[in-house]
Each structure stands twice: as C-alpha cells, then as structure tokens.
C-alpha cells in the first residue's frame, strides 16, 4: 500500500471537488484529489454539459425539420440525424472539458489519485485503485462525492429502463419514450427526444410538471411541450414496464424505452461516512456556513450536502472551503443561487419567488411586448421581479423564455450586489435584446413601465 500525506484531500473531482482542489493548489496547500472516474464528475461527464450538447443538437434538428412549416419562407428537404455521430460529437466535448480540468489540476499542483475512497478515520482515507491501494492522510478532508440518480424499485435501471446517463448515450432515437418524473432533467431530455422524433410521454406523480417552480413559470413550458406533441400525464404513478408498455395507474403508455428521472440522492454510501457518525440533515451531510461537518477538519460541499443540487453552488462552496483552509476570512454569505432549467423555453430563477417572503411584491414583463423576442419567433415567456416593499430591494428575479439562461448572470449580479428596483430601472439596457424585459419589469414595479 502506498502512503501519501497531504494538507487537503478532496474526495470527488466533480465541479465542487475540482474547483476546491484547484483553488487549494493555487493557495499553496498540498492537495490531493481522488475520483474513481474522470475528472469533472456528473456535470462534465454525464450531466450538465452532455445534456446541453444533446439539447443543442435536438434544437438544430427540430428547426430544420420544421422550417418548411414555419413563417420564414424556408423550405428544406427532409433532414435526417445520425444519433451515433451526434453522441460522438458530444463525447468529444466531454473529452475536451475533462482533459482541460485534468490540466488545470496539474497546473495548480494538485495530485490526482484514481480509485474509490473509503474513510479509515477522520484523517485517513484508503483509495482502492486499479494499481493497488493508497492510504492518504490529510489535515483536512473535503467530501465532494456528489449525487446519483434515484432508482425506482419497480422500474430498476437496466434494459429499456434508463437513467439520464444512458439516455445521453443512446445511439438510436427510440420510437417512443416514457419519462417518469417531470422535473427539470426529465423535461430537458424528454424535449430532446421529442424534437428528435420520439413519441414522448411525461409521467409525473405530482399534479403538475416542475413541481418546484410556480405555475406561471412552468406554463409556457407546458404549452411548448404540447406543441412538440409530448403527452403530459400529471397526477399519474408509473407501475411497471414490460414489452414496450409502461403501466401506470392512469392507463398504459407506449414506451420502447423508459427514462426514470425522479430525483437524485446524495452519494454517502460506500465511502465509510457512516462510521464517522457525521451529523446528517436527512439524507444529506449537515454543514455550517463554512461547509464544515460535525467532525473537525472534515468539510462537505456540493450535492452531498443537499439542495439546491447545482454545479455552480458546489463550485462556490469548493472555492470558499479552499480559501477558508488557507486562512482567509470567508463564509457562505451568498444572497442567491441562480437555477436554470434548459427546457424549451428555458426557465431561470434566482432568489425569492413571489409570496415566498412576507412584505414582497412582484411584477412581470411579458416577451410578447419585446421586439427582440418577436424577431426570434419566440415571444413566449416573461421576466419577473420580486422586491421588498419596505426598501424596493430586489430579492428575486425569474424568467421563462427561449435563450433566457444567459440572462441569469444579470439576475444573480443584481441580487448579489444588493440592487434596488431603481438601480435596474436606471441602468441602460441594450436594444433590441431580451434583457430589456428586466429593466421593464423593474419600471413596471415602480409604476411606470414604458412598453406595456
């Protein structure tokens, strides 16, 4: 067994872990990062990035197949898609990014150990790798083991029943696809296959899709799904799958394949966390505002610490923990964490929703009154501002609309900087862009919107 000693050991090289390791390396801390797979974690390998690649491919294909029926006067002969090639292109992007992360870790002086980590005690971890075991002793250990798709006992993964991982590597477009779970992952991938030509059915147990978002935000998505020919069954429970038929309590659904996206669970098993008796917060590791767990010297970041399970939250936590370990004065004091659903149209939320806090009000500006939205044939959706009545401070920004994900930066910046309605209203927004909707929403909140 090889023995390594280091200052900081990061378990998991996902977005939280690798950022933590890079920052720790930059700060001169002797850092080791362990992962059983390639650097980049779920996000780069089987999550955010590959799904965005597939969404893009499906969008392009859909545009071409539907160009002739559109108002633009474009006609095209029937395009086809070789999904195998699409997946290869997507894999190339993943390769490039994970390779890049490996390079960044190397540049920061971080040592990468390949294998599965298991705690021996609060300061020691044994990594079982292909080339034997490595024992690593560290002053500080950062748990960044992430999350994994939840499996349904009556729809175990395998065969025609897939998790998001398999769905991202399908080389043929299934004739029919049932998506069990109408959260953002299911809707993103369901939309992809609908656009690629599958007959898609969404089966959601709650009474509406994206149950964590409010109805106003999800309505344009629901409408678009209908336009795409997707059947949405809400309040419906899937039961079993056999011979291309998914049985539900509301009847049978044609499904050559089934995609189960009913949530993600924290990866806390199999790494010896139980023996450490860390205080848990339900299924997640409980952390304080410095991401410290109940055991001194052990930190946890990212999905393993609970919702919101978002790569950028994990990254920010990882960066903060590294700086904390280097003796910087930091703490988790973020005002808002933006979240994006890459559905069609996209949904962005940042900060408080209407009614979430007392003493707040909200105002919306619809894209139907936005010139730029019309010119892209996508005037569905709106931008909404939530503000505190007492001082007009902007406490929440949400929007739904095609391509609105890029506006998330404006949303989070405004809230993090402590902007008030007056600030955004008085900021010149470029014309013609969708971002004008942000300014207009604030103007509307102040009682003097110009374009509505």
């Amino acid at each position: 067994m090889t023995d390594i000693k280091c200052k900081v050991l990061v378990i998991g090289a996902g977005p939280g872990g690798y950022v933590c390791a890079i920052r720790a390396g930059q700060l001169g801390l002797d850092t080791v990062v362990v992962d059983e797979a390639r650097a980049g974690g779920t996000c780069l390998n089987i999550g955010c990035i590959p799904s965005k690649a597939m969404i893009h491919a499906a969008d392009e294909f859909y545009k071409m197949t539907h160009a002739a029926s559109g108002p633009l006067g474009i006609s095209a002969s029937a395009p086809t898609i070789d999904l195998k090639q699409t997946v290869a292109w997507k894999d190339g992007i993943v390769e490039r990014l994970t390779g890049g992360v490996g390079g960044l870790l190397h540049k920061a002086g971080v040592k990468m150990v390949s294998g599965r980590a298991r705690f021996v005690d609060g300061k020691t971890v044994v990594v079982k790798g292909a080339d034997g075991d490595t024992q690593i002793r560290a002053d500080y250990i950062v748990i960044a083991t992430g999350s994994a798709p939840v499996e349904l006992p009556f729809l175990p993964f395998g065969g025609a029943v897939m998790s998001s991982t398999e769905a991202l590597s399908l080389t043929e477009v299934p004739k029919s696809l049932a998506v069990v779970g109408g959260g953002y992952i299911g809707l993103e991938l369901g939309t992809v296959f609908a656009k690629l030509g599958s007959k898609v059915t969404i089966v959601e147990a709650e009474d509406r899709i994206l149950p964590l978002y409010d109805k106003a935000l999800t309505r344009p998505v629901h409408k678009r799904l209908e336009e795409l020919g997707v059947t949405v069954m809400t309040g419906t429970k899937a039961q079993s799958h056999e011979a291309s038929v998914l049985t539900t309590d509301a009847g049978d659904v044609e499904a050559e394949r089934v995609l189960v996206t009913v949530g993600r669970r924290a990866r806390t098993q199999g790494i010896g966390i139980d023996e450490l008796s860390l205080t848990m917060n339900g299924p997640f590791i409980r952390i304080d505002k410095m991401c410290q767990t109940s055991m001194r010297g052990i930190y946890a970041i990212g999905d393993v610490t609970g919702e919101p399970m978002l790569a950028h939250r994990a990254m920010a936590q990882g960066e903060m923990v590294a700086e904390y370990l280097a003796g910087h004065s930091v703490e988790w004091d973020k005002r808002a964490i933006p979240a994006v659903c890459f559905t069609d149209p996209e949904i962005v939320t940042c900060g408080a929703l209407p009614g979430e806090n007392d003493g707040t009000k909200s105002a919306e500006f619809p894209f139907i009154a936005n010139g730029r939205a019309m010119t892209t044939e996508r005037d569905d959706g709106f931008i909404r501002v939530v503000w505190r009545e007492a001082d007009n401070a902007v406490v929440g920004l949400q929007g739904v609309g095609a391509g609105i994900s890029e506006l998330s930066a404006a949303f989070s910046l405004a809230i993090e900087m402590g902007a008030c309605l007056e600030d955004i209203a008085a900021t010149v927004h470029a014309h013609p862009t969708q971002s004008e909707g942000l300014q207009e929403a604030c103007l509307k909140a102040l009682g003097h919107a110009l374009h509505i």
Partner: protein
Amino acid sequence: MGIYAIRLPDVGEGIAEAELTEWHVKPGDIVKEDDVLAAVMTDKAAVEVPSSVEGKVVELGGEIGDMLAIGSVLVRIEVDGDGNEDASAPEASKPTPAPKEDKPEPKPEPQAKAAEPARPLVKTSKPVARAKNTKPLAAPSVRARAREEGVDLRQVPGSGPGGRISHADLENWIASGGIQQGSVTRGKNTGVEEVRVVGMRRKIAEKMAISKRQIPHITIVEEIEMDALEDLRAALNRKYKDQRPKLTLLPFLMRAIVEAVREQPELNARYDDDEGIIYRHGGVHVGIATQTPNGLNVPVVHHAESGSLWDNASELTRLAEAARDGSIKRDELMGGTITITSLGALGAIATTPIINHPEVAIVGVNKLQMRPVWDGQQFQPCKMMNISCSFDHRVIDGWDAAVFVQKLKLLLETPAMLFVEG
C-alpha cells in the same frame, strides 16, 4: 418645554436587552445633541448611547448593572419645544414590548438620513431600521471587507437606496470607531507538520537534555552599570580604528571571567559526574554560544587567559564565522571550561541559561539599555545590562555563585581593575 424620552436603541440583531454599564450624565445635567449619555454592554459589544436632543436631564432609566430591555426609556430630557411624550404623565418605566415589532417602519430611514447629512455616522445608536431577518444590502466586496474587519454589517448605516451599504459607508463606520464584533471568520488551522529531529538538532536536543537532567541549576541575575566599560570600549575602538579588530563587549567579559576564576578556580572546571571528579583547569577555555543556520553551536576560545583583548576578539570573530559557514574544526568545538551565552539586542532582561555539560558555570548576557538609576539624589540615565549566570549546584554553593557574580559586576563596573595586576 417638553419631555423627550431617549430609548435604548437596538444595538444588534437578536439582542433583547443590554446591561447598563456607565452613566455619563446625571439628573440636572445639560446635554447637547450627540453627547454620550450612557454606555451599555451586550454579550457582543459595548455601545455608547448618544443624545439625539439638547436639554436638561430629568430622569435616568436605571442603575448601573441593570438589564434594560431594548426600547425601554433610558433617559428623560427636558427640551425646548415639544417632547416626544407627555410631561405630565411620565410613564413609570413600564416594560416596553419586544424590541423588533415596534420598531419604526424601515421606510423613513433614508429620508431621516437625507435631512441631516452632516451628522457623524457612528456612535449613533440610531438603529439602522431593517426588517427582521433580512440581510443588509451590500455588494459582495463590501461584505468581504466587513468580514476582514470584523464588522457586523447589520449595524452599519447605509447611504444607498434601500439603505445599501457602500464601501464609503463601511469606511466611515470603521473610521469613526464603529463597533467591531470580533466575529472575523478566519479558518482554524488545525494542521500539524511533522519534522524529524535529526542531525545537529538531535545533538543539541540530547546535549540540552543531559545538561538539564543531570545538573541542578541555580541562576543568579545581577545588573551592571556599563557606562565606564562602554566609554573605555568606545575610546579603545576610536584609538585603534583601522589598526586592530573592533572590540565588542565579549572580550572584556572574557577578561573579567579570567580574573574572577583566578580567585575561584572551582568555577573554571569540568565535572565528570560518572567518575565523581572535578577537573579544575588552569587555562580558561571560554565557549561562546553561537547561533548558526543549523542551530546552536559552541566554539571555544582556548586559553583566553593568555590572549590580549584584541587577540581574544579576533579569535572570537574567526570562530564565529567558521561556525556559521560550517568550516569549524572539531577540536574548536571542544574542551570548554566555562561558557558565555549572549543574544545581543535580543538578550531580554533575564534568562536562565543552561550549563554546557560537563562545565559547571555559564554566563548569560542580557541586553544593554539606558535605564534610570537612583544615585542618592536623583535618577541618572545609565547604560545598564543584566547578566544571568547559572551554576551546577551539586558542586557550586549559592554563596560561591554569588561571590563570582559580584566579582564580575565589580570588574565590569570598574574596568580599570581588569587590567591592574592584583
């Protein structure tokens, strides 16, 4: 004439009461706006409460040591014009309802600010009205700076829309002595570095352990008036400038030791405690504790009794350099009969030197500094220096040790005696 009640302001989020620690006024006093009325202490900080009006103090709201609820009346002041309560019916200090609920609406705050821009921002106990459980409006960089400075931003008045705190607001707050909560959240460094004790370090460790384990030390500290010696040293250095090596204090001290051990040969010795024999040496071989890059080294000036001041000075310099650059020979590190340890300007006022086993005495030199000395009529500025000497109490009695130290003192204070044949 009216009565104006000044209430205990909200001195921090989540604090319901504060201890009255100091009154700066008493009934009958005339106070001006911004005069400090009282100081209160919360579990987080001490806070001074200024007056927001001008007038005569008519009533105090409590005794020192009382716990006052936030919002309760602290002082009643008789003011020109209308007060903020009915003078005829001063409410007996009835408990005020919970602090937060009855706070003014946050809205008026910016206007109040605008109306009195010249006011010093701080000391104000004017609560920065902010809705309960809301975080202060401030950019991330302002928040980071506040963390660095240990400032609780919730107490800093903000000048921006919605009370947003700018860098300038934070500057002002700190500059005017804003309350620092000491809540800097810096990471605890619980790391432990393992350093193996090897080579020179291990030798030093073993040697020190032997010395300290075997030898019961007695240490005597005495002060020495150094003006005469310093004058002599300066005069000699001036006279032989460029011709002879510059004299430090050490050659004189070596000379004094040579003189002193002439009368007390038991101090210039090596005690073989295994054999039970003390070897009293005729030659005075003075070890000089020297800091080198690898640690402590003790090169020995052999036969200090036979060298002149300058001989010893140059030998000392040569040995010290050789010790530092590692070229020193083994026999130059051995055979000492007594040791001097000096940290120069770092020499503190007293030390407890550890004897260089198997020697029996060590002379520690502390720093030279100007100190006032009572000459019978008045204090005189004198160049004073302490020496801290340790002795092996197995073979040296306290009496002998004291005699030796007094002899050194006499010789160093009257340096002529160093050179007069006795």
